[in-house]
Amino acid sequence: MKFKYFKPTSIEEALTLKSVYSESKFVAGGTDVFVLIKKKVINPPILISLRNIPSLNGIEESNDKIIIKSGTTLREIEKSELIQKNFPALYDALINMASVQIRNVGTIGGNICNASPAADTASPMLIYDAKVKVIDFKLNEKIYDLKDFFTGVKKTVLGENELLLEFILHRNSKNCGSAYYKFMKRKAMDLANVGVAIKLEMDKKKIKDVRVGLSTVAPTPIRAFKTEEFLKGKEFSEEILEQAGEIAKNECSPIDDIRGLAWHKREIVKVYVKRVSLIAYKRIKQ
């Protein structure tokens, strides 16, 4: 391990450093980056810390919008009543993610930019239609839909000299319920073998709108559009959810890997689409 470590205190300074030192890498909480460096997977000569930039930190509320700054730690988000109340699927994901120690330093921006197919915060953020605000070194800002942000395993649309600023979320209507559940081999400190996030918006018994987000069953976290299309407008029932599970099972593209076999992951998707939908539905009535 050998690197120089810069601690900029503003976004402008961070972006300037990044464009001056072409071989540098941004690091937020570092819970992935330092592991990769220690394992000699990456070897950046210069790290630019994002931890000391106050404007990259915190959760803000404005009208119907809730903004999570990219450098906010996973633990701060988990402890926020605003998040617990408005985005319960994100809360579900956070409390089962890694350990308290990791969540105390790891950030949501880091988790999303790392772009692992198993990123725990990704599928909840997908079902809430999160938007991502990005800034480049000329200080131009761009906004992406999170569903267009991931481009491949560990790949995103972010350019070399760009920085993720914040996530923009909208409050859900009263008739919405949502949940996230991940299948793991052990109860803690494990990556998701399969992660399923679902948001239902009901009009009495009818499913008015729905979002299905899946982790670890495709090269990136994905929305299951065919499954959503099938469920939209249908009357809510266990049979319908089973049929939806069947569609989701065929819509994803898992591979055999260290976490499990593809056929098994598909079966889990099928079961979890129903199970997580039922939890989401129950939460509406509460």
């Binding site: 690197f3 120089k4 470590y5 570092g30 819970t31 350990s99 308290v100 330093v105 400190m189």
Partner: protein, 152 residues
């Protein structure tokens, strides 16, 4: 080398560090506080847990460069006037220690957890969640959870 200042177990410390030094290395190799252990070195096992500004973190993944101006507490900082803290006593009395390697980390996570409860109670499930980032390969956790329960 860079010079940094921070508070370590209540005392102000000024020391020289390298850019790529982790807090764990600074504590053990430079400041000779070997109570904090290195297990996996990858943030999986929690043996290196210390408190930074009251939050439990894995010191093996925490850059020393980031502790400038912050407050760090290690296992060495828990006893007062030569007396073990209540958490340490409870671990001893309830068999929460066997080989002892994971113990400093377990105790630091317990401290962060209890300080955060603000007098509220906690279920077994809460305790398990709070300590899920600390692995023990001897006792099987029952005695550890018991040790924590006794002081809540």
């Amino acid at each position: 080398m860079k010079s940094i200042k921070f508070i370590l177990n209540g005392d102000e410390v000024e020391t020289e560090i390298r850019d790529d030094m982790m807090l764990l290395e600074l504590l053990r190799e430079k400041l000779s506080l070997t109570g904090t252990k290195e297990g996996c070195g990858e943030g999986e096992c929690g043996a290196c847990t210390v408190l930074v500004n009251g939050l439990n973190v894995d010191s093996c993944l925490y850059p020393a460069m980031e502790i400038e101006g912050k407050e760090v507490v290690t296992i060495e900082g828990l006893s007062e006037n030569g007396e073990l803290s209540a958490i340490q006593k409870s671990f001893l009395e309830n068999g929460g220690v066997q080989c002892g390697f994971c113990t400093p980390g377990m105790i630091m996570s317990t401290k962060a957890f209890i300080d955060n409860l603000n007098g509220k109670g906690a279920s077994d499930e809460d305790i398990k969640r709070a300590l899920s980032g600390n692995l023990c390969r001897c006792t099987g956790y029952v005695q550890i959870i018991e040790s924590v329960k006794k002081i809540i």
